[in-house]
């Protein structure tokens, strides 16, 4: 188990394991994500993709192994500390602030990175730069018209867009998106892909995705997870041609 970490790795997992009770769900995962890469994680349902994200982002404690973000070890940090180091994630099941307005959702997501911390002395209405930044992001998400609506009242696709917005707002350099287009119609998916491309420009993206069009259209590297292990990592064309992948994964997909 060498702990050598190549510095161009934005994210690296070393022999990562996670058990829930007696069942081991993540079974010795190794993964390198290079800086600036668009990395898709694919695999059948229940393979452990979401669990992997939960471990990386600090939501669950790991059982064993190591996680490095830009060369520093993060597997013992709390989620907020990991986030402050530049990693942000979205949720497969939309996780927004449903009683707050769309604008407030985005503004809250900007607060930490803009240095407001726990301030109870800065009047938000007077923070011009902050409010403009939130508006610009809303515009980019195509949610400006929904600015003052309660987030819980947005349509599903709009909530997914907001979910992405909250994730990228803080300026994290490593973005994890968990099935951002799941449940979307064809046109909504197209729109979401364009959005993801735009807002993750120049950043490291790790994305769980089931839609193969999206995967092959967006990713420059693909990792295949089956039963808690990465069975293959490579360029899209390599993955498409990989016999093991076809058997293990594409077979499971058509089940």
């Amino acid at each position: 188990m060498s702990a050598t970490v190549t510095i161009e790795s934005a994210l690296s997992l070393k022999d990562l394991r996670k058990s829930f009770g007696p069942t081991e769900i993540i079974r010795g995962t190794n993964l390198e994500v290079k800086r600036g890469e668009r990395h898709a994680v694919i695999g059948p349902n229940g393979a452990g993709k979401t669990t992997l994200f939960n471990l990386i982002s600090g939501r669950f404690p790991i059982t064993s192994g190591e996680i490095y973000l830009n060369g520093t070890r993060i597997d013992e940090l709390a989620p907020q500390e990991i986030n402050r180091r530049g990693l942000s994630r979205s949720f497969q099941i939309t996780s927004i602030f449903h009683r707050m307005t769309v604008f407030e959702n985005i503004r809250c997501a900007l607060l930490w990175s803009t240095g407001y911390r726990y301030s109870f002395w800065s009047p938000l209405w007077a923070q011009k730069a902050l409010n403009e930044q939130a508006e610009r992001l809303l515009d980019e998400l195509n949610l400006l018209e929904r600015r003052d609506l309660q987030a819980g009242l947005l349509s599903y696709a709009e909530q997914r867009a907001l979910e992405i917005g909250i994730t990228i707002a803080g300026g994290a350099t490593v973005i994890l998106l968990d099935e951002p287009t799941a449940g979307m119609s064809h046109s909504e998916t197209e729109y979401a892909v364009a959005l993801i491309k735009r807002v993750t420009e120049g950043k490291t993206l790790v994305m769980v995705e089931h839609d193969m069009h999206v995967v092959f259209g967006l990713a420059d590297t693909i990792s295949v997870v089956v039963y808690g292990e990465v069975i293959a990592t490579g360029k899209p064309e390599e993955i498409r041609a990989n016999r093991a992948v076809q058997e293990a994964y594409l077979g499971a997909l058509t089940e």
Binding site: S57, G58, R59, A78, P79, Q80, N83, R84, S88, R89, F91, S95, I96, F97, H98, R99, M100, T101, F103, E104, R107, C108, A109, L111, W112, S113, Y116, R117, Y118, S119, F120, W121, S122, P123, L124, W125, R147, D148, L149, Q150, L153, I166, T167, A169, G170
Partner: protein, 443 residues
């Protein structure tokens, strides 16, 4: 019913033209109410004796401190989604501290003018908020509620046990005329105290309103809506709760300080669980989802406490039934009911509701009369009769042994309830039509 419409409409933002017009109208309304409160003592001034009505002044002063108390409670309940059952601790401890400070000031040991005493009361509330927040704020929902209840019981017991600070059953008293005033006021007259409370209520309410529009206030809302997500935006939601809790304790302490100054005595009641329950009631009935809700709730409940209790021993029953009614039918409280009319009023459709309102008000009044009559009859049977009094209901002397009063009140209750059900259905239909129409037009 009506309430569903509150949640389906967006909270008005701060910058769109429409909402800023409404909020400036709202601001005018609040200023008018404030001026009215300031003038009220003079409307009940007796020019013959040259005195204010002590009853009204006491009630208004009580309202002021309860408004601060309820607003501070809503920093937890409405804004941070935290249900506390021990909030009186901060009010009461603020009160006890102030009593001791007043005594120290009178002896010359504390050079603080009376007008600034509430600041010290607030600081003591803040201190206790930090101490207890450290214990409670780390916990999630149920555990938090249990711990605050435990803290409430703990302080309640301590207040009876430790005589030095709490004075035992008799409490601790002081004299507010410490002869140190910024403005040379003696505060001998209750009306002077009333103005002190009015000013402090305004200051505290504005500070709490300000807090809702700061990063901490916004993140308190965020942790209320989605505790976990806040973590993935860089925030420690426990820290957010802790700070919110401590600040809430501070404002409760200010309320308690004004209590001490007004009554010049603080007893066990000020920290007791009954007051903790009362603030839940006020906040909920007023409406926890809107900033001014607790102001309404505190005013209404205090009014009921002061006025209804003059006429009826059973007034607590009415408050209780009102609470249950609000929880069941209007969970966003009085303020929520008012806000639900906002979109309709802006669309100029309020007039369409006049007839439906009249139609439900008739059976509602019948139901109310029947209910009140029955409660009073029953209450008289158990207490009043033994005291050899005569029951006077709605201006008539009533013989509680006759069948007639019982038959009439029961009939009013039953018929009123049945009729109200029918009328409510019609009301909801009209309401639904109007709001559906508004939604169509807004799309």
């Amino acid at each position: 019913m009506m309430d569903a419409t509150v949640t389906t409409k967006a909270t008005p933002g701060a910058t769109t033209g429409l909402t800023s017009a409404t909020s400036s109208r709202q601001l005018t309304l609040w200023i008018v109410l404030l001026l009215l409160a300031a003038c009220l003592p003079w409307m009940v001034y007796d020019w013959n004796t040259g005195r204010h009505s002590g009853f009204v002044l006491t009630m208004l002063s009580q309202m002021g401190m309860m408004i601060i108390f309820a607003l501070s409670y809503n920093m937890l309940m409405g804004q941070a989604g935290l249900l506390s059952f021990g909030h009186a601790v901060f009010f009461g401890l603020g009160g006890y501290c102030t009593i001791h400070l007043l005594n120290a000031a009178e002896k010359g040991g504390l050079p603080v003018p009376i007008e600034l005493m509430p600041i010290l009361a607030g600081l003591s509330g803040l201190g206790f908020g930090i101490a207890f927040g450290y214990m409670a704020a780390k916990q999630r929902a149920t555990a938090f509620a249990m711990i605050t209840m435990g803290i409430g019981e703990l302080i309640g017991t301590v207040a009876i046990m430790f005589h030095h600070f709490f004075g035992g059953e008799g409490g601790v008293s002081a004299n507010r005329m410490i002869e140190k005033s910024l403005f040379g006021v003696s505060y001998a007259a209750p009306v002077e105290v009333f103005y002190l409370i009015l000013v402090w209520t305004l200051i505290a309410a504005l500070c709490m309103l300000f807090l809702t529009r700061t990063p901490l206030g916004a993140m308190a809302n965020a942790t209320r809506d989605n505790f976990e997500r806040a973590q993935f935006m860089g925030y420690d939601p426990r820290r957010v709760r802790f700070l919110q809790f401590a600040l809430s304790g501070m404002f409760a302490g200010i309320g308690g300080g004004l209590y001490a100054i007004t009554y010049e005595i603080v007893t066990f009641d000020a920290v007791a669980s009954a007051l903790s329950a009362n603030v839940v009631l006020m906040t909920y009935i007023g409406g926890a989802t809107i900033f001014y809700g607790p102001i309404l709730g505190a005013a209404v409940i205090t009014l009921m406490q002061s006025v209804l209790s003059l006429y009826s021993n059973s007034w607590l029953i009415y408050v209780g039934v009102m609470f249950i009614g609000m929880v069941t039918f209007a969970p966003s409280g009085l303020a929520g009911m008012i806000e639900a009319h906002g979109p309709i009023a802006r669309a100029g459709r309020l007039r369409r509701l006049i007839v439906p309102y009249l139609r439900i008000s008739i059976p509602a009044i019948a139901l109310l009369l029947g209910f009140v009559g029955l409660v009073e009859l029953l209450g008289f049977l158990t207490i009043g009769q033994a005291q050899g009094k005569k029951l006077v209901l709605f201006g008539n002397k009533i013989d509680v042994r006759a069948t007639m009063p019982w038959a009439v009140t029961t009939a009013l209750l039953v018929i009123g309830a049945a009729w109200l059900r029918v009328e409510l259905r019609g009301f909801i239909r009209v309401w639904g039509d109007i709001t559906a129409d508004l939604k169509l037009r807004s799309v």
